[in-house]
Structure formats: structure tokens, C-alpha cells
């Protein structure tokens, strides 16, 4: 196992004691912890060049603009984008998907079908459902009993009426990695556009938009050690150029008169208004941090934590675990229920017993979760800062709860 224990000192939350005990943070899929370095990068903006970007000629503005520009280049290289101008900063994954969805009527031509999967987060479901009024219908790739996507079914669904295939790279409920490259190839054969929701893959899998071949890709900084308030919409150049700007205002134009507006080129065309400069700087620092650790090491560490979960969780009396059969296809999540306890109750008890933070309920993916268990489920999601000892504590407390209350 690649031991990443030394990294824990970078995450200040681990020095906070609640009731004399440290926090066991098993809710990274909701939002990750942030290393000190990310906060420092954000502070550098306030301390050194707290000026608006691309708007002034003073030194501070120049420095802020330069830092912002290099952050964009850094994020572009993080996903191997051919150009930094194809990286649009948004608020989050949700906004990125909404921007594309609201332009679908103009991108789609005569095509009227949208393909999603049964495992989408509401953020990759509602923006498309909202297009029903514009005549679009949704089909969903089914999830098999092994929690993978039914690719045969997908092949049979896709035809020349499909305008958009929008799929999650990694399920936020199961941790399951989907074969996005294959999905994209099949969609492109029929001329469909493909959007990949990479909110849950960006923290775990090296993203290469060129190799993947996606037309659009969305992710959020806060799930990959970065701050809240910033996300990315990557797109192929001609497709980004075809999108309607999500907002109109300062920064997105090169000339305005009463008669005429000349829009700026990408990425500014899609980024009206002052962006979250400090969050973008923090985002870039998070990408550096991940790069330095390396995705191989993160994966090894994750697999070591998962092996404890796979070995012990399903055997706890009353526990029903919903785990993808191959841990190698799981990015570090475990979905489960305990008979006799409602998920929020279980989550509350684990928190009060051992400061275990985990998610309970429908996980913003109600169609999938309610099909697995109508009352909702609990989820632990692990990351590079978790330890085997923490997982053992979680399992131990769960065993006690199962014995006494389950």
C-alpha cells in the first residue's frame, strides 16, 4: 500500500477534536477536505494582488490577471485540454451542465433524444428533463444487477435521433467507474454529442479529454481538494463557440455601441462578470497537490481502504452492502443500509459516537437510490487522507450499533 499518512498534516481538520476525539471524514464524495496549501493560494490573492482581473493596467491587476491566466493553463493541462481557452470557469458541475443543456435546442438540429443513465446525479438529470417542453425525450441506459451500465441496451438505444449522450464518469452513489470512452465512441458513430459529468472522477482518475474524446466535460473544484465556488466546463472549440452565453455583461465583449455588440473570444465569451478569482487560484493549487501525489498512489491507497470494506462490511449482521463486485472499478465508496435503522438515524449515531461524517438519504440521485432501497441509504466515501484505522473504527462502531439497535 502506498502510505499517504504523512499527508494528513496538510489537512487542518484532523487537529480539531470534538468531544476529545478527531474527526473521521468519510464524506469526500459530497465535498473533499482542503489542504492548507489551497487556502494559502487563495490568501495570496487577498494579500498580494487583490485587484480585479483583465480590467485594469495597474500592477496589481496585471499580477492578478497573470495568476488567473496561469491557473487556467494549469487546469487545462490537468485534463489535457488542447487549449486553455477551452476551459471555461463556472460555479460548479451543476452550472456547467446547465450551460450546455440550455443550448441543446440550437446544437441538436432535428434530433430529439437525450440519452442519460439510470445512475445520474440530479445535476445531470434535471437540466435535461427541463428540455421536455422543447420536445426532447429522455432514454436511460439501465444499470445491471452488478451496478455496471447495460452496454448492449445502450447500443440498441442509440440512433440518429440522439442529440446528446450525457453520462457520469463515476457514480456518486456506487463509486462505479463507467466506460466513458466506449460510450463516446458509440455515440459519435451516430453523430451524437457527448457530455461527461466528471464531478466524481476528477479526484480519482487522470482525465484526458483528448484520449476520452468527449465533446463536453464538467467538474467541480470542491470535490478534488479545491475550494467551493468554482467548476469547469471543458468543450471542443466549435461546440463551445456555438453555446449561448449563460450571462451577459462585463468582460465578455470587445466592443459595445447602441447598434452593435462584439463578443469576446473564448473563454471570456462564456464568462461574463468578475469570476471567483481566489477560488480559481485555490483550484489550481489543488490540481498541483494531486499531481504531486500522483493518481497511481491515490488509487493504491484507495484500494487498500476498500479491501478492508469489502472484507468486513457485508459480514456485519443486518448490513446490506451495495458494492460493485470488482473493487478495482470502485473509486472508494460503499453504499449500505442497516436493518432497523433509518439512514439519517444511523448517520447521526455514528457521528455522535465517533465523529464519523458520512452521507445518508437519497444522495441527490433519487431514481437510482430509491430503486435500490426506497427509504434511502448510507454512503461512506474515502479519499487519500483516510486511514485503515479510521475504517476499522467505522466498522467497529457500526458493529456495535447493529448489535444494540439493529
Amino acid at each position: 500500500m502506498t502510505d499517504l499518512k504523512h499527508l494528513r498534516k496538510d489537512f487542518p481538520i484532523f487537529s480539531r477534536l470534538i468531544g476529545g476525539r478527531p474527526v473521521i471524514y468519510l464524506d469526500t464524495a459530497a465535498t473533499s477536505l482542503k489542504p492548507v496549501r489551497v487556502g494559502e493560494a487563495m490568501l495570496s490573492f487577498h494579500r498580494q494582488f487583490p485587484a480585479n482581473i483583465n480590467r485594469g493596467v495597474c500592477r496589481l491587476s496585471e499580477e492578478a490577471s497573470r495568476a488567473f491566466g496561469s491557473a487556467r493553463e494549469n487546469i487545462a493541462s490537468f485534463i489535457n485540454s488542447p487549449s486553455a481557452s477551452q476551459v471555461i470557469f463556472t460555479q460548479n458541475t451543476t452550472q456547467s451542465i446547465n450551460i450546455v443543456a440550455s443550448s441543446l435546442p440550437r446544437l441538436a438540429g432535428d434530433r430529439k433524444t437525450i440519452i442519460l443513465t439510470e445512475m445520474e446525479h440530479h445535476s445531470n438529470l434535471l437540466p435535461w428533463m427541463n428540455l421536455a417542453g422543447a420536445g426532447f425525450k429522455i432514454k436511460k441506459i439501465p444499470v445491471t444487477p452488478e451496478y455496471s451500465l447495460d452496454m448492449e441496451k445502450y447500443r440498441s438505444m442509440i440512433d440518429r435521433d440522439v442529440a446528446m449522450v450525457s453520462v457520469t464518469h463515476v457514480s456518486n452513489v456506487l463509486g462505479m467507474i463507467n466506460p466513458v470512452k466506449e460510450i463516446i465512441g458509440i455515440a459519435h458513430d451516430k453523430g451524437a454529442i457527448v457530455m461527461v459529468d466528471a464531478a466524481q472522477s476528477a479526484p480519482h482518475i487522470p482525465l484526458d479529454v483528448v484520449d476520452m474524446g468527449c465533446d463536453f466535460l464538467a467538474f467541480s473544484a470542491h470535490k478534488m481538494l479545491g475550494p467551493t465556488g468554482v467548476g469547469v466546463l471543458y468543450g471542443k472549440k466549435e461546440l463551445l463557440e456555438a453555446l449561448s452565453p449563460p450571462a451577459f455583461g462585463g468582460g465578455m465583449v470587445t466592443a459595445v455601441s447602441d447598434e452593435e455588440v462584439v463578443y469576446n473570444k473564448l473563454p471570456q465569451r462564456l464568462e461574463a462578470g468578475t469570476p471567483a478569482v481566489e477560488s480559481v487560484l485555490g483550484f489550481s493549487a489543488a490540481a498541483d497537490y494531486l499531481r504531486e501525489i500522483g493518481f497511481e498512489a491515490i488509487r493504491d491507497h484507495q484500494q487498500a481502504l476498500l479491501s478492508v470494506i469489502y472484507e468486513k462490511l457485508p459480514g456485519i449482521p443486518g448490513v446490506k452492502a451495495y458494492l460493485p463486485p470488482d473493487p478495482g472499478m470502485n473509486t472508494g465508496m460503499a453504499l449500505f443500509s442497516l436493518s432497523g435503522l433509518e439512514p439519517h438515524e444511523l448517520s447521526l449515531i455514528l457521528d455522535r459516537q465517533a465523529n464519523i461524517c458520512m452521507r445518508s438519504g437519497m444522495h441527490c440521485a433519487q431514481p437510482l437510490v430509491s430503486s435500490l432501497c426506497p427509504g434511502g441509504l448510507c454512503r461512506v466515501s474515502m479519499y487519500l487522507y483516510n486511514t485503515v484505522e479510521e475504517i476499522e473504527i467505522f466498522l467497529d462502531v457500526l458493529k456495535k450499533v447493529s448489535h444494540d439497535l439493529g
Binding site: 432497523g340 439519517h344 438515524e345 438519504g361 437519497m362 430509491s370 450499533v401 439497535l405
Partner: protein, 130 residues
Amino acid sequence: MPDFFHPCISMNSGMVKAAYKADFDLEVVAEELMNNGQFEEVRYSPRLGLVKTYGEIQVILFSNGEISARPFYKGDEAYDYIKKLSVKLWDAQICPRSGKALKKCFLPECGEECRAKTGGEIPLVDEVKK
């Protein structure tokens, strides 16, 4: 009044999370709730430091007074419920002088006082986050 806690918008019912301004003897809590007859089952776990009820309304009470109750469809209903429930928990409150439940407090200096406190609603300390 505590807010209604509705942690997952996809769930159609919510829970109230609050804390009574009292510490509790959980053994007495379990007895009182069991005698109450409102719950199908009441379990007390000393090592988890809580009492949990089973049935239509599910309550978890921790020894420090923290309580959660569910399911409720409206915040007012949930608030009324935990306020009324506190009347039933009156005797299980710990007397700060003797360290015993009011029901068991026979300290000469406060026994009369404790026994004289014959019920009422236990106030809530912290108001709850949404």
C-alpha cells in the same frame, strides 16, 4: 423554535434535531418511554449512550439531552412532539446536585426540591440548523 431538519430534499419527510437543556439518566428514560405505551419497542444502549424508540415515531435521545425524532412532515408538528415528549422525560433529568435522575434523587438538601418539581416541559438549548 427549532428549525425542521430536512437533510435530503429527496425525502418527503424530515426529522427534528434539537437538545433539551438537561442531562438524562438513560435507564430511567428507557423505563419512562416503555411505560408510556406509545412505542412498539424501546432500546437502551449504555455503550452507545442513547435510547432509541421503534414504531411510527422514532426517537433517539442521547444522555446529554440531544434528541432527534422522525418522521414529520411539518416543523411545527415536530416541535410540538418533542416539547410534549419532554413532559414524559421529566423524571429522567439528572439533578445537578446529586447527579441522579430526579426520580431517584433523595438528597436531603434537594430531595424535596426535586420531588417538588413535578413536571412541565424541559426547555430546549440549541435551535437547530436546516
